[in-house]
Symmetry: C2
Subunit: 377 residues, 2 copies
């Protein structure tokens, strides 16, 4: 038998050194380089592009429209070293003679809508919860039938560590993405599973289910699946509410039937960013008895003659947390301030949490790791 194993191992090795398919590497031998390389508080970016006449870097920690020129070495490798931005996950890309190019050395890539961007993960306290913990929940992609929208739709569901072996029921956070996003946004760019795995393991957050639906009511699922979209006019007011109604009237019952979810207002939270923040404020105004925890991010509300009455509906129904997050440079800050002031003049307890930066994932991850610690307590 031992001999067989040695032979089998040789086969494994043969397999292991072969990629599954032949690579689409650039033809011809090229030097292996490292990019990005974080050393102390600096980051070096490198690109092997001997033929290029100009290579520029754009990172989303930089002002929009600004780029940094890389310098070409004698070996044809372009390079630049910059001071690392603070501990977070950023995205970047190169422009090679004007053509947007991802860093071929960096296999950390995220999809934002239809764009694939390289990630720069700067380690540190703030970003530590974006790493895997040791007790990991399950992430699943589950389909449900939306009768009101007339299509089968996909959602991402996070089940906390231990869910499958426990007999407990859990509270549920409904976590909504923004415009251009889909049901994969919070579990990928948002690091929702990692953040909750860490907070739960550290005893900072209650074990909870997170439901991340697709908030585009004309879509069955992320566009990368290539499914046809419906002809629903998503800009019509009626259809915008169609999604919020589907969320409360269809998704919540689906979750509470198919998962061990506590079917009570006190065990439901709703949070969302940008468009999802609009869904959050709308859902809670339309259905004031559905959620006890309300966390809109990077969005706002407009003044109107019925705003106070709408908010009084929420006040009357009662709630346990109204938590608003917004970046100081976010274009949604004026709307956020209107919401903040309206809650104050209506005598509604709430938190306004602000942070540096604008309409961006580094903030939404920070907000999630902040308000998740306040839920269901």
């Amino acid at each position: 038998m031992k001999k067989l194993l040695t032979m089998a191992a040789a086969l494994f090795m043969m397999g292991a050194v072969q990629a599954q398919e032949l690579a689409n590497f650039n033809f011809g031998g090229r030097k292996q380089i490292v990019s990005p390389e974080i050393k102390g508080d600096s980051v070096t970016f490198r690109l092997n592009a001997n033929y290029a006449t100009q290579v520029q870097l754009f990172g989303n920690w930089m002002p929009y429209g600004q780029t940094i020129d890389l310098k070409k070495g004698n070996d044809g490798i372009w390079e630049t070293t910059i001071k690392a931005p603070y501990a977070e996950i950023y995205t970047y890309n190169f422009f090679v003679d004007g053509v947007s190019v991802n860093d071929p050395q960096n296999f950390m890539v995220q999809r934002d809508g239809t764009r694939y961007l390289n990630m720069l993960f700067v380690p540190g306290e703030r970003s530590s919860v974006y790493n895997e913990s040791s007790k990991r929940g399950t992430v699943e992609q589950r389909w449900y039938d939306s009768k009101s929208l007339g299509i089968n739709r996909r959602m991402t569901v996070y089940l906390p560590y231990g869910y499958e072996k426990s007999k407990e029921k859990y509270p549920v956070l409904y976590l909504l993405h923004g415009g251009g996003g889909d049901e994969e946004a919070w579990s990928s760019m948002g690091r929702a599973a990692q953040i909750l795995d860490n907070l739960i393991e550290q005893g900072k957050a209650k074990p909870m289910i997170i439901v991340m639906p697709n908030g585009n009511p004309n879509q069955q699922a992320a566009s990368t699946l290539g499914l046809e979209t419906t002809t629903l006019d998503t800009r019509s007011p009626e259809n915008a509410n169609a999604y919020v109604k589907s969320l409360v009237n269809e998704i919540i019952p689906f979750i509470e039937k198919n998962y061990r979810a506590i079917p009570k207002k006190a065990s439901r939270a709703i949070a969302g960013l940008s468009m999802g923040g609009g869904h959050t404020t709308s859902a809670t105004i339309l259905f004031p008895n559905a959620f006890d925890y309300i966390c809109p991010m990077s969005c706002g509300i407009r003044e109107s003659d019925h705003l106070d009455a709408d908010l009084q509906g929420i006040k009357k129904a009662g709630y346990k947390l109204y938590w608003i997050g917004c970046g100081e440079d976010d274009f949604a800050m004026p709307g956020t301030k209107i919401l903040d002031a309206a809650l104050t003049r209506n005598g509604m307890e709430h938190t306004l949490f602000t942070s540096d930066g604008g309409h961006e994932w580094k903030n939404w991850r920070l907000y999630l790791q902040t308000f998740a610690q306040l839920l269901f307590k």
Copy 2:
């Protein structure tokens, strides 16, 4: 209330036209182009790269090392039209002045190990099962503790449509990836969920659970998660078997405890490509009482003085299907022929299924859609 909704809708719209974050588009207005564009039996590829002096296309339907030159139009858009390869999913990339660049117009991208490649999906009969069906199973990423490997590890699990609402138990296919792959390979490049959703809906395959573990015993999960790997020497014979042993002694019991899986040999199938084909042949030789369905793909076996005895062990234990798939141009064909001949001279019923092409996903998808129809019947 109606007024509120109109107002809320305006907010949604604001959200909808904003991407979640500002895009990393190339700065400056550029014409929108379509690429790739399939028309009849031709495909056109386009790239907006005014500054480039040379743009080439490489697709994995072409011989390795060959490229096609694109021609530059007066508008700075490079273009080429070719005859579409037959109905399948292919990958391609551009070389812009020698730099490998993905097609920025094409958001269909797949990850193969550490490489991100654009997809070209040519529709037709053979590729029709790679599309979503209307009855979709659940795909989940689940962690399990491997005591023998000393790490917490991730696997992908496919649950057939209706699993959650049924009380039935299901047979299980253990589906193994190749070298360079991980637990995401079969559900992304392999289209395993779509293929089984379609075959099950059409009544061509039995409803089954598919378990897609990570076959790299030193890895917790796909390298994109950034988890540390162990120092396990994966080239040592002992450790190669460590994975196969973990599969049979740890993963199978985990699945049969945590899912409604039928815990019988007659309800277990094992299949794998390349390195995973080596895992398949090894697992069935080491554990002849574990699986009734054995489907190695694009791999083989070496002649040895104990090969016949090893295969007789499987014959004695009994099996229902021994199905081998290999591409005619696959470098694994000689090893496949050795396995084929050894099974024949040992009087073991089996199928050798060959197809054009080499060591590539178009074949492994074809093999899965072929042998899946033979399982558990």
